[in-house]
Amino acid sequence: METDRPETASSKTTGKISSACYLLYAAGCLIPGLLALRDLLFGYSWHVSLPLSGGLALSFGGGGLSAYFVVILSLLVFCVSIYSAGYARHSSAPWSALILYGIFVSSMYAVFYSANIPAFLIFWETMSLSSYFLVVSDTENIEASRAGLLYGVMTHVGTAFIMAAFMVMFFATGSLEFPIIKAGLAGAGGLRSVIFVLALIGFGTKAGIIPLHTWLPRAHPAAPSNVSALMSGVMIKSGIYGILLVSLDILGGGAGLPAPLWWGVVVLSVGAVSSVKGIMYALMERDMKRLLAYSSVENVGIILLGVGASMIFSFNNLPSLAGLALAAALYHTLNHAVFKGLLFMGAGSAVHATGTKNMEEMGGLIKRMPWTGFFFLVGSVAICALPPFNGFMSEWLTFQSLIMGIKTSVVLTKTFMLLAGAALALTGALAASSFVKAFGISFLGVPRSHEAEAAKEAPATMLLGMGILSAVCLLLGIFPGYMLRLLSGIPLPGLGSLPQFAPGGLAVTGVACSGVLPIVLLGALLAGAAFIFIFPLVAGGRRKSICADPWDCGIRKLTPRMQYTATAFTHPLRRIFKKIYKPRKEVRIEYIVKPFFTREIEYRSEITPLAESYFYRPLVRALHNVAHSAKRLQSGNLQLYLGYILGTLVILLVVWG
């Protein structure tokens, strides 16, 4: 966790040097970013192979899908590195953090560029390991090391599934190169489904889909905030990238080979469950960074809604709708990277200023940190899919593609997709509630602790990093039409046939028509605000305003403890959805005179995540049991061990004899 070190002269110089290094990172990431943007706009692609010993080679390629993810990565790394320049001045281990940050960022680039199995796996593992070390970088925090352990285990389970998927590919085609595998798998039939399931589990672990998400809300908050921004903003997108790469690009055979119907249904269900449950848990969090991490689970779910819808449309031979749904997913991938990066940076500033991640100990920060507060508000509005910011545009597209589910051929998928649309609407309302809470409890009201009272605004570089992303949130929201032109350069099924859009606007045409013109919407909002600004001056004239204490029912002295807390804010939902949350409440009261005069009240409440009680605990218990039974094999008796060897020999002779 971020703790202030006593400022000495040498630590000041160290801080300055590491800040300069972060600025260098920011400058450096512009090169791949701009090159990838060029690749995307003009449809370039490239491929290089670096031979290693033993006939192995590391291949890299760019263009298309990988270029799009490189653009997202570069945008985020640029802003987060600028932010880090200010953030690093107070970090406790500047050098190791700086170097790990560099390795982490470059390995993500390498993952997106990888064009064969060895390169992909090597850099995937580098990415996982470097982020693991960043999570546990705060060595004094026991919570962080536990989170790190869980992350380490989960990410390797995921990697094992990915490896298995790649091994199946290799044995089926005899090649390690993605382009050759792609051609070789075209007629593979049932094998494709095996690869799909393995890849979905493997990459889904990284993306944080439910129920494979448990590491995410623990590990992301434990890392330093600049790294959390990158982990939630981009690293989990590498899971999305993997899912798209394997299921649409490689298994799609390049020619848009349609996936079996159940693939799409599975991805759509995973998306719906992850989005609703992710945001439901986010709503209950008091820890600001964990709230954001859970909301990443939700957004990955929304992205997968688009991916699943796209697969279903492909199966139904509706390429333009498949393109629409995929465009929604890819657009949301970029949008989520932007606003989640922004929010984690804002949370980082708030956490740094108050020394706590607990929102119940913040409050009133907007008066002490006006810019951080403003940027966090922009991020909150954007992530709740409210116009005129970017989240609205991608969710609008997702809504459109889910409604178009009515064009599919089976009643089941029709109903299913429309219900997924209802789930998305629920998600939107839950997200709004979560972020009213996140912003309202921590930034509004009166300070709930001395630390919050004494909070200071973040340094300029940190604000600059957030400011750029806030502007991007608005721009991506106002000019979605240009954004979709960028997507149409990606050679995935349907994206080439995206309908033409009016400049800056978004429209769905052909099958059904509707459109939004966000710039007009923004104009309407501004016109409305201008009207209501002028009208009272005309109607009522200039009026005074008097400052007074807020209404206190006559008790004369409101204290900060009488404000609504984050826990109270979500209490109605905890009660309404108690089947899902399974809340546990413990109240201990010490009385002076029972039952009227109390000396002390202790109140504890917590919720139990379903995945943990129904999936992980039984799994761990089963593993323990298996290990326990296996212990009997190890009796320490020499004769028994000799017997094992004999038995093995006999079996081998029988099998191969």
Binding site: G363, G364, I366, K367, G373, L377, V381, L386, P387, F392, E395, W396, K414, T415, L418, L419, G421, A422, A423, L426, G428, A429, L430, A432, S433, V436, F439, G440, I441, L444, A502, G505, C513, S514, G515, L521, A524, L525, A527, G528, A529, F531, P536, A539, G540, R543, S545, I546, C547, A548, D549, P550, W551, D552, Q563, Y564, F569, P572, L573, I576
Partner: protein
Amino acid sequence: MESLQFMLILLLSPLAQGIIKKIKAMMQGRRGTPVLQPYYDLARLFKKDMVIPRTVSWIFHGAPYVVFASVLAASMLVPVFSAGRSTGLWAGGGVGFSGIGDIIATIYTLALGRFFLALGGLDAGTAFGGEGSSREMTVAILVEPSMMLAIFTAAVASGSTNLGVIANSGSFFFSPAHVLALAAFFVAIIAETGRIPVDNPDTHLELTMIHEGMLLEYSGKYLAMMEWAHYMKQMLLFTLAADLFFPYGMAGAGAGFGIAAAAGFWAAKMLILCFGMALAESTRAKMRFFQLPSLLGAAFVLSALSMITFVMTGK
């Protein structure tokens, strides 16, 4: 001319509020306030000085502007009495209303207002504001899915989420799906406008209020803006119900009524909805907050049934 039809919502929404109050008063055997009372209230509030809590930030000051602007902007997206203005902005969609009349955009623009309304409630740091915000967001969570599903049913029936297209199509009217969706939407309106049995618009009883709780610290000009926005939102939702579920009598490509006749039809529909709302309020008691899930859950079931009926029968 048609692009100014949102002015009707802006100007007449306090009247609708006055009419509902009058009808309610008559049903309860009271004489009630004049139908123009909401106008007098607004005028008086605009002329008053404001009392601002010491504890607030700029969010408290900004929220009334955002709330009002979002409701007004949402009204600009909605065809009030004429749905036929073709702009040719979208290829293949000759009936698109100004190119921006999208129902999802409308709902989400309203949600922007709610977001800031809730923040305004939290800003003063009092318990009542927080309570109002918390309950408002909770009700929104319960309402949103059923409202959107009802809208989806209308949208898939006409092949578009554009309100102009939906109003012009009339493909599923007077079918079972239509009735079910309308019922779900009506419950959603009750919840969204904070009426009995969800919220009591006439109460300032601290423990039961939702909407009033968030507005407790507002006074003068800001309170007038918030109240006016609330009236507009109510009329806007009525108009949406008319557009989605009984668009008969609208001017435009499909129906071809004259503007005067269409405006008359719209006024009649508004009166019917005002009456329905007053009737619903007068015959129901306010529900306990934690009983709301059963009402709103029923609305969700209705809308889901409507959608499934439509998918199965195609009408």
